[in-house]
């Protein structure tokens, strides 16, 4: 009885302590954020830094409020989100397809290996100008740039995972007479799902690079276009506000992938 009571007490104390630490962490985070914004505002106003480049948090806030309330920002967010979602899904999907091909034909995997290594070390963004001439300025070029940025690394990572599938699992299905397709679908693919999801996560980040640079080069709308436009008319309030929106939207996208991950691995992994 007394032991039970005591352990209950210990548990309550433990929870209290945990909660206290959490509160401290969050309040410190908020404090740092506010201090940073204040320091920024003051530095700009007192001309410690050049307000033309660094703008003011208050001006950025005013711009954000007006851009969202008059709705002028939405087409830009929509265009960029569309491009990057299509880009990273396409990049991941095509990467998985190529990895499947390489797993299926080990001869071709050996043949292609050095080419993959070279392509992977090359900055794919540099192909931008060629693509734009080939495909014309527009969303199609931006999506292909994004695809190129993501597809090689995805192929390499997922192919390696396929190849390193635990022999013991393969032996289990082989003794039941599994065909190569069955081995692939029952063992190789499911055991690579965590790798596929981490590829998806990496590609969310990479696709933003592809999209923003692509928009720098060709676009008439989109968040990358706003940045380059702001730069051309020397409106750095617009540049910084857009950066802020990008940070928020990219984070939301990353969280969406996290939720997707939890959905499909539900049950078979401890969280």
């Amino acid at each position: 009885m007394s032991i039970q009571k005591n352990s209950q007490l210990l548990h309550t104390q433990f929870l209290k302590k945990e909660k206290k630490v959490s509160v401290q962490v969050i309040s410190t985070q908020i404090f740092i954020l506010i201090a940073f914004l204040l320091l920024w505002e003051v530095s700009s106003r007192l001309k410690w830094v050049d307000p033309l480049i660094f703008s003011y948090p208050s001006k950025i806030w005013t711009y954000l409020v007006s851009a969202f309330s008059d709705g002028s920002i939405y087409p830009h967010i929509g265009a960029t989100v569309l491009e990057s979602v299509v880009g990273f899904i396409l990049g991941t999907g095509v990467g998985i397809l190529i990895a499947t091909f390489l797993w299926w034909f080990p001869f071709w995997a050996r043949v292609i290996d050095p080419f993959l290594v070279v392509l992977n070390s090359m900055p794919k963004i540099a192909l931008g100008p060629i693509l734009i001439v080939m495909l014309g300025p527009g969303i199609q070029s931006i999506i292909v740039i994004t695809l190129l940025v993501t597809v090689i690394i995805t192929t390499i990572n997922i192919y390696n995972r396929f190849r390193e599938t635990e022999q013991g699992y393969l032996k289990v299905v082989q003794t039941f007479g599994a065909s190569r397709i069955q081995q692939f679908s029952y063992v190789v693919v499911p055991s690579a799902i965590p790798t596929m999801i981490s590829a998806l996560k990496v590609n969310v980040g990479l696709s933003w690079i592809g999209v923003i640079v692509g928009e720098f080069l060709v676009a008439k709308e989109g968040l990358g276009y706003l940045i380059i436009y702001g730069f051309q008319v020397f409106n750095f309030t617009l540049v910084l506000s857009t950066l802020f929106i990008i940070a928020i939207v990219a984070t939301l996208m990353y969280q969406a992938v996290n939720i997707f991950e939890r959905k499909i691995t539900q049950g078979w992994r401890e969280h």
Binding site: E166, G168, Y169, K171, V172, V173, Q174, T175, F176, G177, A178, Q182, Y186, V187, P190, S191, I193, T265, G267, W268, R269, E270
Partner: protein
């Protein structure tokens, strides 16, 4: 006693591994006859080819020389006759327990629904009925290996090939599982071949033991365990006076083959 048929016949089998760095002579002149319903064990030092021989019998490897007959027919990987268990359970973490057990049926293309009841019955029999819908990470090592046994048994193989399935477990769980495996296989009239490096386990569980030596891997001695000891279950068997006698005999053979190499 009526003469039992051969489940497995191995004639003059040799195996050589070939890779970039050269060749390795793993098995030499192996002859074996395994009768239906027998529980036999391969013991020997590591590197003696006992696991290689098991892998050849499963069909993972093709022997470079010799003949292998399973129920008087040539052997192929993935036949309905053979079931296989490994040291690790290799349960698929993305499948629930019942789905793990059903994978054999799924691969062989049978309708899952018809077999669901059979899988449930088998899980009940192995005292796993309650956990059918859990996932492997929620189970202990001994339970997981029991699920692996159910998964192997569900397609109703006649020859069970066991590659050290007990060796990663704690002593108590290990003997419990030995009891369960041996009991279940005897009840169902299955033939089994166990690979182990544990002499005590070999004596306690087998009807017949093959002792291997290495360089090249070969069988140096076959010992038949007398009915008196073989009829006992693995736990009782360990307490029988004959148990120590056979333990010592195998020990001596292993010592000798070790000394021969020096």
């Amino acid at each position: 006693m009526p003469k039992k048929d051969n489940m497995l016949t191995v004639k003059e089998l040799s195996h050589t591994f070939i890779n970039k760095s050269g060749t390795f002579h793993a098995l030499e002149g192996i002859n074996l006859e395994v009768k239906k319903g027998d529980f036999i064990t391969f013991v020997g030092p590591s590197g003696c080819g006992k696991t290689t021989l098991l892998n050849i019998i499963v069909g993972f490897l093709t022997a470079t020389e010799g003949e292998l007959l399973l129920d008087n027919k040539p052997l192929v990987l993935g036949s309905d006759q053979v079931g296989y268990m490994q040291q690790q359970d290799f349960l698929f973490p993305w499948r629930s327990i019942i789905d793990n057990v059903l994978i054999g049926y799924q691969i062989k293309g049978d309708k899952k629904k018809d077999k669901l009841n059979e899988a449930k019955r088998l899980l009940e029999e192995l005292e796993l009925g309650e956990i059918a819908h859990k996932y492997p990470h929620q189970l202990s090592g001994g339970m997981r290996q029991r699920v692996a046994l159910a998964r192997t048994l569900i397609t109703n193989p006649n020859l069970l090939l066991l590659d050290e399935p007990f060796s990663a477990l704690d002593m108590h769980i290990k003997i419990q599982l030995e009891q369960l495996v041996r009991g279940t296989l005897k009840k169902l009239g299955k033939t089994a071949i166990l690979v182990t490096h544990d002499i005590g386990e070999a004596v306690a569980i087998s009807d017949s033991i093959y002792i291997f030596a290495k360089a090249p891997g070969r069988i140096v001695k076959q010992i038949t365990i007398p009915e008196e000891l073989a009829s006992l279950d693995p736990y009782e068997s360990r307490k029988h006076p004959l148990y120590n006698q056979y333990f010592d005999e195998i020990w001596t053979y292993l010592d000798q083959s070790e000394q021969l190499r020096r």
